[in-house]
């Protein structure tokens, strides 16, 4: 609702003549964009405002003060005040676009694995262990909803653990199995050998590392 009010209050100059312009043939995207600059801009801005959740919109407007002649300091300031915030902002927007599940959906799915019967695979499998389930839920909070919820696959294993998998269109993968006490994962990126991490404690420090790997996908 706030977004709509904000849009109503926005006063973007609008050239009404563009509405009456007739095209002899179907215009190309660039031709159309040139003619309708302000309208296209309005659409982009309003689209972003309407689709972004609060955490992504809460980004501070970058402030850049070029009060130095030293190019290194200048570059540092630029990176800190302009480049990094914009990269973070774009990552947030991409996360939202690629977000496949909500936190509620994922927790619901994790808990559903607890209701599996003994021998659910016909070969003696056990239901998801309570500790493994709670570790997986803890991981959602540690990684942050926007990163965790881009998970591609989530499934129980016959020995009571739970697996999570993130991948991208280039088949780069981060595959993780969460157990009762620790987790193990590997990351496989194009043109490089997979990296293996075993018996990792589930805490904020490790979650930050994992989060960086997921962002690389």
């Amino acid at each position: 609702m706030d977004n709509i009010k904000l849009l109503e209050n926005n006063s973007i100059d609008f050239d009404e003549t563009i509405l009456t312009k007739e095209y002899t043939s179907t215009p190309s995207i660039s031709e159309f964009t040139n003619d309708h600059k302000s309208a296209v801009l309005t659409c982009i801005v309003s689209g972003m405002l309407l689709t972004m959740p609060n955490e992504a919109r809460a980004i501070e407007i970058p402030r850049f003060i070029a009060s130095t002649d030293n190019p290194l300091v200048y570059w540092e300031n630029y990176k800190r005040n302009i480049d990094d915030p914009i990269s973070d902002f774009l990552y947030d927007v991409n996360c939202i676009a690629s977000k496949k599940h909500t936190k509620k959906e994922i927790i619901k799915e994790i808990l559903s694995f607890k209701t599996l019967n003994n021998n659910w695979d016909g070969y003696g499998a056990i239901p998801l262990e309570i500790e493994s389930a709670s570790n997986a839920i803890l991981l959602i909070d540690l990684l942050g909803e926007s990163i965790f919820c881009s998970v591609n696959e989530i499934y129980p294993n016959p020995n009571g653990t739970i697996s999570l998998k993130w991948n991208n269109a280039s088949d780069e993968t981060l595959s993780m199995e969460v157990g009762n006490n620790t987790l193990s994962y590997y990351i496989s990126l194009s043109n490089s050998k997979p990296l293996f991490f075993n018996n990792i404690e589930i805490n904020a420090k490790e979650a930050e590392k994992i989060s960086k790997y997921i962002q690389m996908l």
Partner: protein, 174 residues
């Protein structure tokens, strides 16, 4: 003299193949079938399988498969349907197909392990894929083994049975 002869013949006893059994050696080109269940083993778009298809229960490293070159898809389906458990998200879906070479290339191995007893569950085509690591209850697999399992998943071709309720195979020709 007779005793000696008997002892000599006993040496070859272990090499005798029981009638009906298949050769112990599994050729690289042999087709190996693993039963697939839905939704527990299958992705939402039903185009790929999840890695839990190739994860053994606690205390085991074996994954049951059938040697398809010596049997039929109808036989595989019959066996797979016995393992259905709809209450546990386990409905028969189809089969996952690999070659013995795919298994060996994934750093796993396969052994022939016919089931002879009880007679009701007799399966002369049964084999086991061995991961080389025994799973432990509540303890995650080492990352290297997870990678191995994922390699098996990548190499597996999924074939859906379009009528899972019938007794005969209703999927594509393999």
């Amino acid at each position: 003299m007779l005793k000696r002869l008997k002892r000599f013949l006993n040496i070859f006893k272990c090499c005798r193949i029981k009638p009906g059994l298949l050769p112990n050696q599994i050729e690289d080109s042999e087709k190996i079938a693993r039963s697939i269940y839905s939704p527990i083993n299958v992705s939402k778009d039903e185009k790929s399988i999840k890695a839990n298809t190739f994860k053994p229960p606690a205390g085991s490293e074996d994954l049951s498969v059938n040697r398809l070159d010596y049997t039929t898809l109808d036989f595989c389906k019959k066996g797979a349907k016995k393992g259905e458990n709809p209450q546990s998200k386990r409905n028969y879906f189809g089969i996952g197909l690999l070659t013995a070479k795919d298994i060996r290339d994934s750093d796993c191995y396969i052994i022939y392990s016919p089931i002879l007893k009880p007679k009701k569950e007799r399966n002369l085509f049964h084999s086991d894929i061995k991961l080389g690591f025994k799973t432990i209850k509540g303890q995650q697999l080492p990352a290297e083994i997870q990678y191995k399992v994922d390699q098996l998943v990548i190499k597996t071709r999924l074939y859906k049975d379009h009528n899972p309720y019938s007794e005969k195979w209703n999927g594509p020709e393999i």
